[in-house]
Point group: C2
């Protein structure tokens, strides 16, 4: 088990790792080029700015992807730690550089915790930032078992969900799930630039959610995109093709050409449906096992309102009510489904049954879709 840790780079991620480890009793040493960043992290109780007197068990390099290999080489030359991992969101380029340049590549395993916030810097750090979040490890052909195991220990200390992938597969996937979406959100957000304040009034929650990722630090993201440029370019090329098709359909609809209307509507609806299908295929967020509680009610006026009031009293607010499972027309019974965290579902089912409601409670699909995932390094 890790007893000492060094964090190089006390930004959002580095400081959050340090806070999580420090709370678990690990001695944490903080290093950063910025004196105020280290000082802030220290004031937060993330560790000490004192350099370690002997090599620590593990050093976490929380620096931009393009800096990983150089910082690793520098710290290995200084003997900062017995093994190293990083938290960069791009893995293949850094791995290639590490294998080419680092003094002891066997002591390094790449890592990427899928957690972040639109805000950056040590003050945005939280010890629970990685709780229940996927944390990918990408061992290289040279990564040693001890180096891999210490990284795995760190993920455990942080409450993360360890996952193992090859660096190339990781980068191809994040280009699709993170890097290209970030750039598309930036394009959408940038289009709003220089508009009259009135347009801001028509910016709803949907726009804010859709563009939140675009608030990420510009310099860091330039480094991320450049380090994964080939994969990102591939996804953007595909998106450009998709956008061209979509634009053709929308333009046809705008000129109201009856000959193309049916086809254009089909193409537009098809795109919207493919998007919905892809999103519905995603497993529920790992943050909570969800379950559902079905309640069958008769069609007496006010009956549903009474059920919802009762349920709300047990913490199942209107947001937990899903569509009716069997919305018959006529006067047949109506089945109302509540979707909420498994633990809360248990309680709700008991309380409602006790209150005389007709309850069916089942655990949800999370057991099937939940994360499997720890593999040993190849």
């Amino acid at each position: 088990m890790i007893r000492s840790l060094a964090v190089v780079g006390t930004g959002l991620i580095g400081t959050s790792v340090a806070l999580a480890a420090a709370r678990r009793g690990v001695t944490v040493h903080l290093l950063d080029a910025s004196a105020s960043a280290v000082r802030t992290a220290e004031l937060l109780g993330a560790g000490t700015a004192r350099p370690p007197e002997e090599p620590v068990d593990l050093a976490v390099l929380a620096v931009p992807p393009s800096k990983v290999a150089d910082v690793l080489s520098e710290q290995q030359a200084r003997g900062l730690a017995r093994s190293y991992t990083d938290v960069a969101s791009v893995k293949a380029g850094p791995e290639r550089d590490v294998l080419a340049r680092a003094p002891r590549p066997t002591h390094f395993v790449g890592g990427h915790p899928l957690a972040g916030r639109e805000r950056s810097g040590p003050l945005a750090a939280r010890p629970d930032l990685f709780q229940d979040r996927v944390w990918v490890l990408t061992p290289s052909r040279l990564t040693s078992k001890p180096a891999f195991d210490r990284a795995l220990d760190l993920i455990g200390l942080c409450g993360g969900v360890p996952t193992v992938m090859q660096s190339g597969a990781h980068d191809e996937t994040v280009a699709l799930t993170s890097h290209a979406p970030h750039l598309m959100a930036s394009l959408v957000a940038a289009r709003l630039g220089g508009r009259s304040p009135v347009s801001a009034l028509l910016v709803g929650q949907g726009f804010r959610d859709a563009t939140r990722i675009a608030r990420g630090e510009a310099r860091l993201w330039t480094d991320i995109i450049e380090t994964n440029a080939a994969e990102v370019a591939g996804v953007l090329t595909a998106l450009q093709t998709d956008l061209t098709e979509l634009l053709t359909a929308v333009q046809d609809l705008s000129v109201r050409d009856p000959r193309n209307r049916a086809r254009s509507r089909r193409n537009l609806t098809g795109l919207l449906e493919r998007g919905i299908a892809a999103l519905e295929a995603l497993p529920a967020p790992l943050t909570a096992d969800t379950a559902h509680v079905d309640v069958t009610i008769t069609a007496r006026p006010g009956e549903l309102a009474r059920l919802l009031d009762t349920a709300a009293g047990y913490g199942a607010g209107a947001d937990t009510v899903a569509a009716p499972v069997a919305p018959h027309g006529g006067d047949g019974p109506l089945v109302i489904r509540f979707e909420l965290a498994a633990a809360e579902a248990e309680t709700l089912a008991e309380k409602l049954a006790a209150a005389g409601w007709d309850v069916v409670h089942e655990d949800d699909i999370r057991d099937e879709t939940g994360p499997a995932l720890v593999g040993a390094p190849g």
Copy 2:
């Protein structure tokens, strides 16, 4: 003031309007082509499925944009209400059709509440869906003052923030703030289709937020995009140009051509910065007046941790801590800023001051950026 209301279309928006009005004592009559939708809304306490015996004060047409003019004509022929408004997210096309076809266009004013959820249907309805949300009215050249005033009364009953715009300006803006962003999110989401389950593990909160809007009902959104096709095509064309430039930069970076590197990085960073600037220029969401509390602390180790613990005790969690206002290096004082709802800020400032902390509390800029907005119809 409105005493009777009819809601035509008991989906998410229609039922939410009905719930809000019913809770304020208004007699609400519910109409929908789907018997089960009306029945569900009635069971929720949104009103009665009985048709009104005499014309109601106001009828809200909660139907897709392409249906507004036809439904208005049909209901005016039946004498359902003294005046009418709609809630479609496209305003120019429906207004044109109303002026061309409706029996009494003077009794109609277009409306668009900027509220919604990714879920649809009456069971997703909430009486507070419009609380503090902008609700646009787009009076036509024929809209009468009584029709406008009744719609304004309804917005008041729903707790919305009334705004007045011309239908064309509204549509141009929502193409930019809602319709095109929705389609871009659909493109990004659709790209994930048919990928291995492993990729889903690398889908973080950022992707989920960025694509949430793409979950909206495909048929309704096809209708919305078609009804605003010209404006949406304009925004998509601009986005396609931006994407082409971005792709060129990323491709140059992927081939590591040193000659273009500086320019490509500049273009990439420039786009990211324009996106950030546009987002930072947005006023805070209208849902809460925010304020900030600044606390100056000395550099004693643990001092910041103590401040955060104390603040957390008064409801100001880590999330409310903004970047330090003056993060000096060296050992000078550090100013920590908490950003939270105005009311909570008051309390926090008092509590912290009482606890001996060095507090500066100011109301935030919301007074300047907040919505000013009711105008009379032109």
